[in-house]
Symmetry: C2
Subunit: 214 residues, 2 copies
């Protein structure tokens, strides 16, 4: 398997965690998002949507991190990344989607560029935008987790699921942009529990071959 990835891309980070949890070795193919590698061939030929990650496996090309993680879970069932019960599956998917659909897309590189280049926003207004969606979105995740009362060490009891895989990269992003996190005791407790595990530790941006120095 080949994973087209960028060190700091949180969607790439999610797939790296899933591959590590499954114990699947892969070839790391860096995509230089800062210098437009996603807009050029050969990458653009693989994914016309110009987004990382892309997973190549036996000639197949898979896109969208959540679709890739579901594929890995269906194809390599152990350890499972989703629970067995349909209601519990819906719950962990909803937490994952609350991050993938409500927080992350608003702070994508291309959105931040639109804010500064097309709308002419300064750095302060851009950072305020970033923090607004992260802080509000994660507060809503915190509210959902505490209302559901299903957390153990992780989002659902004692086993890692796709919901935990989505939380961790989002917290890395939040810290990078100095977002408030003190209103998220449950989320941060889960983050800390995940970051005890080698699958998460090894997937983090600073351990990737294309992490910028410093």
């Amino acid at each position: 398997m080949r994973l087209h990835s960028a060190a700091r891309s949180s969607a790439s980070f999610r797939v790296r965690i899933a591959l590590n949890l499954k114990g699947l070795p892969y070839e790391y193919v860096p995509v230089d998002l800062v210098h437009g590698g996603q807009f050029r061939d050969p990458f653009r030929g693989l994914n016309p949507a110009e987004l990382v990650p892309v997973l190549e496996r036996e000639g197949a090309v898979l896109t969208q991190s959540l679709a890739i993680i579901e594929y890995l879970d269906e194809t390599y069932p152990q350890p499972p990344l989703l629970p067995h019960d349909p209601l519990e599956r819906a719950y962990v998917r909803a937490i994952a989607l609350a991050i993938a659909c409500e927080i992350h897309p608003l702070n994508n590189l291309r959105v931040l560029r639109y804010l500064t280049r097309t709308l002419g926003l300064g750095e302060g207004a851009k950072d305020a935008w970033y923090r607004h969606w992260v802080e509000q979105g994660l507060a809503q995740v915190e509210g959902q987790l505490t209302a559901a009362g299903r957390c153990g060490r992780f989002v659902l009891g004692e086993a890692v699921t796709v919901a935990d895989i989505l939380i961790v990269p989002q917290i890395f992003n939040a810290r990078r942009f100095d977002c408030r996190l003190d209103h998220l005791p449950t989320v941060m407790r889960i983050f800390d529990a995940c970051m005890q595990l080698p699958a998460f530790i090894d997937a983090q941006p600073s351990r990737q071959p294309d992490m910028p120095p410093g």
Copy 2:
């Protein structure tokens, strides 16, 4: 089952289509997004994320449209909304997520309000933002569909999947905001095929009890 929905909410629209395709009757509970019904109890007590749709079933509360659709598909398997093969499942999920994660979140009501109320953008700049993400995002979906060469009458051959369910509400939104669509021949052909089916016709905003007049 009770579906908390808003007529024009495209995430609600997706779940209405899925319920209709499965032939599942449900009670329609309107949520008045324009006047803040999502921020008040009883709705907010159901979903602290303050977003429609919410599906209630036998005491369980489900959120996030894609998680709800996967749940319905696991619980009521006929007709299937995902293919059987894992690679094909990954493909239709990726198309669905390309809309759910890359287009729709940028044009959510709360994002448009941030643009006008917090950033002080005028209607013209707000509409340009809206059209930019819809036109670019759907062009990328078009590119993925044509590159994959898997379309028949629908996104994957001759059976409706979750990818088709995501396309239709997004086109309704695009038309409402006068977005360009002439660069999307494949997407629009699929849209037209879907809109021949009663499950899609009956789920459209104008057929809902809370559609504003006019």
